[in-house]
Structure formats: structure tokens, C-alpha cells
């Protein structure tokens, strides 16, 4: 038990020191990793515990980002308003759209969420009086915590990751609670779950709304990090990237989400040193991970642990 606490303490220490010892662009990537972890967390909840493929996360990411941008730049309101506005709009939209769409299942639902993402992307382009269109909205101020301005990656890092840890705590609670049990029952056998009079629709909608909330928070954090938002960041491609995160990392584990976010943020950066061929290599790396590690990166870790435990047990016996 104590060895586990020890390793957690070590991990926390490393986390706290990291932004100060790495070069600035790596600190920048670590901030993105945090932001993508939050967005990927929601997708992971839907995928790992509900068996739902959600390709609409870019919509809520975009709503959060535009809400923050619009409230601070166009209306001159404090940043907190942007965060809250984005979250409220996203959750409301998720509820209203979710109720009818979540009645679909399987690939129909995936297509439904994809359609939602495409509609939102088209509207972001079209309503350029609100979003600035391709030119976007620039000059979004950095976050200001009672006078302490988070104007560089090494400072913003802490804010982002604390929000990420909070979201992870919420996710963990959801998974370990009765709701989590019901979710897994629904995923594994919906007829059995229905026979136990579990409100499947209500349950799925609730998780969809939580996913949208996480997406919106990630978007608002992104707006204050890049200080600029434009339509290109919120297309269907982005939704697909968010889907990659839990699948690569292992959808049912929270460390897996972080591993997936690290993969999606850092790998393209390192590969780009190899020249124009880097896009091809990223695709190949993705294929390699999927083929060789069917349970994602965390699944592989789990299997290594089990193998070592078996060896130890074998030697002892």
C-alpha cells in the first residue's frame, strides 16, 4: 500500500517540477496535453462505460472556446463569465440534442454525432458575426488570478492540470458510483438493464451532458492559452482527434486518457523533426499501437504487470 502512495508522491513531485525544467515549447505541449485530457475524458466516459462513439466533441470544445472569446473580447466581461457561459450553453445543447439522438444506437448514433459536428462546424463558418469566421477572434486575454497573470506556459500549466484533476475526480466518482454500475450494465446488456427498470435514456443523456461540459471547459482553457480562436480548430478532424485519445490510451482507465493525450500531442511534435514524412509516420504509429496493443497503452501496461505478477507467483510456488 505504502509503495503505491510513494509512487503517487513521486509522480506528483515530477508533475510539479516539470514545467520549470523543460524548454518552453515542451511546457506549451504539456498545457495542450492537459486540455486534451479533459476533452478526451468525456469521450472516454461515453466510450468505455457506455459503449458510445461520440464524434461531436469538437462542437462543445468550440462552444466553450467561442463563449470565452466572445465574452472577454467583444463584451469585455471577466473570464469566469466566459467559462460559465460556455459550460451552460454546451450542457443545454447536449441535453436538447441528446434526448432525441441518443435514442439511436451503434453506428447510427456515431453518424448522428458526426452530423452534429458537421452542422456546428458549418455554423461556426457561417455565423461569422459571432465567431469571426476564418479570421477568428484574437486578443483573448490571459487568465488573471487575483493579479497573478498566467501569461506563460509554465504558469498556465498548473491551472489547466488542476482543472483536469478535478474533472478526473468527477469522472472517477461517476464511474465508481451506482450510476457507474448502471452504465456498465447498460453497456454490456441493455435488455437486462432495461428489465431492471434502469432509465437508459436518462442515463446516457446525463453522461453525454457531462462529456459536453468537459469539452466546453477544455475549449475555454484553449481560448485563453492560444489567445486566438478560429473555425479551423473546430472541424470534424478535431472530433476525430478527440476520439483517438481514449482509444489509444485505453478507454476505461483515467491514466489511459492522459497517456492517449500525451500520444496525440507529443508524437506529432517529435515526428516533425524528421521532415515532411512526419504525417505518414504518425499514421503508421497509430496503426502500430492499435494493432499491437488492442487494449490501448494502459492495456499493455496492465498486461505487463499481470505477466510480472504471474512470474513472481510462479517463482514463489
Amino acid at each position: 500500500m505504502t509503495s503505491r502512495l510513494f509512487w503517487i508522491a513521486v509522480a506528483l513531485a515530477v508533475w510539479a517540477v516539470l514545467p520549470f525544467v523543460v524548454p518552453r515549447n515542451i511546457a506549451d505541449l504539456l498545457v495542450f496535453t492537459g486540455i486534451y485530457s479533459i476533452a478526451g475524458l468525456g469521450i472516454g466516459l461515453l466510450l468505455g462505460h457506455c459503449g458510445i462513439v461520440n464524434l461531436a466533441q469538437a462542437t462543445f470544445y468550440g462552444l466553450g472556446a467561442y463563449a470565452s472569446a466572445y465574452c472577454t473580447v467583444m463584451m469585455g466581461l471577466p473570464s469566469a463569465v466566459g467559462f460559465v457561459a460556455g459550460a451552460v450553453i454546451s450542457m443545454a445543447l447536449a441535453y436538447v440534442i441528446g434526448r432525441p439522438i441518443l435514442r439511436l444506437t451503434g453506428y447510427f448514433l456515431a453518424l448522428g454525432t458526426l452530423a452534429l459536428s458537421a452542422i456546428a462546424s458549418a455554423l461556426f463558418f457561417e455565423w461569422d458575426w459571432l465567431t469571426g469566421g476564418t479570421l477568428g477572434i484574437g486578443g483573448i486575454p490571459k487568465l488573471d488570478l487575483f493579479g497573478f497573470v498566467l501569461d506563460r506556459p509554465s504558469r498556465y500549466y498548473f491551472f489547466v492540470w488542476i482543472v483536469a484533476f478535478a474533472c478526473m475526480a468527477v469522472a472517477r466518482n461517476l464511474v465508481n458510483s451506482r450510476t457507474g454500475l448502471m452504465l456498465r450494465a447498460m453497456r454490456d446488456s441493455s435488455t437486462a438493464a432495461a428489465s431492471l427498470s434502469i432509465d437508459l435514456q436518462g442515463l446516457r443523456t446525463r453522461v453525454f451532458v457531462v462529456c459536453a461540459l468537459f469539452g466546453s471547459l477544455a475549449g475555454s482553457l484553449f481560448a485563453h492559452h492560444a489567445s486566438f480562436v478560429s473555425t479551423q480548430s473546430f472541424t470534424v478532424d478535431r472530433s476525430i482527434s478527440f476520439l483517438l485519445i481514449p482509444v489509444i490510451g485505453g478507454a476505461t482507465s483515467i491514466p489511459g486518457i492522459v497517456a492517449g493525450a500525451v500520444f496525440v500531442t507529443f508524437l506529432p511534435e517529435f515526428l516533425s523533426k524528421l521532415g515532411d514524412i512526419h504525417q505518414i509516420l504518425f499514421g503508421l504509429a497509430l496503426v502500430a499501437v492499435v494493432v499491437m496493443l488492442p487494449d490501448g497503452l494502459m492495456g499493455a501496461v496492465g498486461r505487463i504487470r499481470a505477466w510480472r505478477a504471474a512470474r513472481r507467483g510462479g517463482d514463489a510456488g
Partner: protein
């Protein structure tokens, strides 16, 4: 809004719809035979078209031979993917999401490879029937588009007959519905799955070759086609090639009618909203019955 404009919209809608249908049929064929959602179906189209372009312009082959070469390229790539990746993953009982991610990764790799090896240029192919057009009431449709529609309809009917009338086709369906049961009747499940991917590859390549004279092929075309083809296939119930054709036509017509009926600015919004409404109102897919294998 004149009759001429409506007719033009119908022409464009049916032509585009048939393109989506061809991609969707390949997707449906692969799903029907292996239960894998092929996110790189559009890339088969690009590979087929690019190969034909290269054989025609760089190697100087005659057009029919180049087309055959393009279709063969699609078949070979399909077979390669099945043998190299899908078979291995199936043996390890990978989840459906893993297969989806595999095809997404392959799609990214292929699109980037085409940019890297062939370049960023767009390419055209000679249209069937030359540059000639048919004009009805001031609405214009190219001869090539008419050929595309005819070939698309033919392919749909052939595919349906293949799956329901031929031994190979029936075996492929059996192998995907119940692999163990199929094996006990002597069906080589792995080989059937390879055939499925070959079929998907050829259909995709054919679609690409047919579409290129109208819209040109470049490294970015794949994803667009895949998304539209996916919509067509799902609308049609995902395992029904005839359904994919109907789904594709529906999508194409909704798009062009939305442009003239509402506004070109909201075309995507309208088209995708209609898509969602259709899915909710017709949970069995547009063709109903045995259609909803996607659920």
C-alpha cells in the same frame, strides 16, 4: 426558382448522390463481410484514381488498361490490409472501436503518403463520352455523369445479386454473421474476409476512377468521400448495398435541393439535419427490414 433550376439541381443531386452511393456500397460491402467500419474507403477511391492517372500519363498505357490497373490497385491494397492487419487483430478478438481506429490510422497514413509521393496537385481523367453534354430545358448534365449513374445502378444490382445468388457471396455473408457456424460448413472464414476487402477495394477504386473526370482527385479527397459514403451507407442500413445507393441518392438530392430551396450558405446544416431526422424516424434505415444491422 424556375423549372430549369430545379431540373439542374436534380441532375447535380443524382450525380453526386451516385458518387456517395459508390463509396457507401464499398463501405457496406466490407461491413457486411467483416463487420469492420472502413474509415479509409475514400482512400481506396483516391488510390484507384491516382493509379489510373499515373498509368495513363506517366506510363502511357491506353485508358482501359489504366482503368483496369487502378481497379487492381484497389483490390491489392484491400487484400493487403486484410492480410497484414485485420486478420491479426481478429485473431486477438479486437473490439470494433479498435478496427475503426485502425482504418482511421490507415486513412491518415495513405492521405499523407499521397501528398508526399505524388504531390499536392489535383489530377483529372478523360471523361467518358468526351466533354459532351446533354441539355434539357436549359439544365446541363455531362455525358460522363450519365455514364456514372448508369454504371452505379448496374453495380448496385450486380452487388445485390452477388451477395444473394452466388455461392461466394452467400459464403461471405455467412462467414460474417456467424464465423464458427460458417467454418463448420467448410467455409474458409479468413479467405472470405480477404475477398470482402478485395471487393471493397475494387468498388472504392471504381468509384474514384468514375468520379475523377468530374471533380478531380487530390490528396484531400479521401476523407470527404468517406464521410459522405459513411452517411449513405448508414442511411441505407449499413449492410445493404441497395440501401447505400438509396441513402447516397437521398443525401445528394437533399443537398442540391437545399441549395436552391433554402440557401447555399446553409446547405450542410440542412442536409445533415435531414440526415438526423431520417435516422430518428426510420430506425430500420431507409430500406427498413434487415436494414438495421448498424445498431
Amino acid at each position: 426558382m424556375t423549372l430549369s433550376l430545379v431540373l439542374q439541381a436534380v441532375f447535380a443531386g443524382v450525380t453526386n448522390g451516385m458518387v456517395y452511393a459508390l463509396v457507401g456500397m464499398g463501405l457496406a460491402a466490407i461491413f457486411k463481410g467483416s463487420r469492420v467500419i472502413n474509415a479509409m474507403q475514400g482512400e481506396f477511391s483516391v488510390i484507384g484514381a491516382m493509379t489510373t492517372v499515373l498509368l495513363l500519363t506517366k506510363a502511357g498505357w491506353p485508358y482501359p488498361a489504366a482503368i483496369a490497373g487502378g481497379a487492381l490497385a484497389g483490390a491489392l491494397v484491400g487484400a493487403f490490409i486484410e492480410v497484414a492487419f485485420v486478420r491479426y487483430m481478429a485473431k486477438k478478438n479486437a473490439s470494433e472501436d479498435s478496427f475503426l481506429l485502425l482504418t482511421i490510422g490507415l486513412a491518415l497514413t495513405l492521405s499523407a503518403s499521397i501528398l508526399f509521393f505524388v504531390g499536392r496537385d489535383g489530377h483529372l481523367l478523360p471523361p467518358l463520352g468526351g466533354e459532351g453534354v446533354l441539355i434539357v430545358l436549359d439544365a446541363v448534365i455531362q455525358f460522363h455523369a450519365l455514364w456514372l449513374i448508369a454504371i452505379g445502378i448496374g453495380a448496385t444490382l450486380l452487388l445485390r445479386a452477388f451477395f444473394h445468388r452466388t455461392t461466394v457471396g452467400l459464403s461471405m455473408m455467412a462467414a460474417s454473421i456467424d464465423a464458427d457456424g460458417a467454418a463448420t460448413t467448410g467455409i474458409n472464414v479468413a479467405r472470405m474476409r480477404t475477398f470482402t476487402f478485395v471487393l471493397g477495394g475494387v468498388l472504392g477504386a471504381a468509384g474514384g476512377i468514375l468520379v475523377t473526370p468530374l471533380i478531380g482527385v487530390d490528396y484531400q479527397l479521401g476523407l470527404n468521400l468517406t464521410l459522405k459514403g459513411f452517411a449513405a451507407a448508414v442511411l441505407g442500413g449499413l449492410t445493404n448495398p441497395l440501401g447505400a445507393a438509396v441513402g447516397g441518392l437521398t443525401l445528394g438530392l437533399v443537398e442540391s435541393l437545399a441549395i436552391i430551396g433554402i440557401s447555399s450558405s446553409y446547405k450542410d446544416v440542412v442536409a445533415f439535419s435531414v440526415l438526423i431526422v431520417i435516422m430518428i424516424l426510420m430506425p430500420q434505415g431507409i430500406l427498413g427490414r434487415a436494414g438495421r444491422r448498424g445498431g
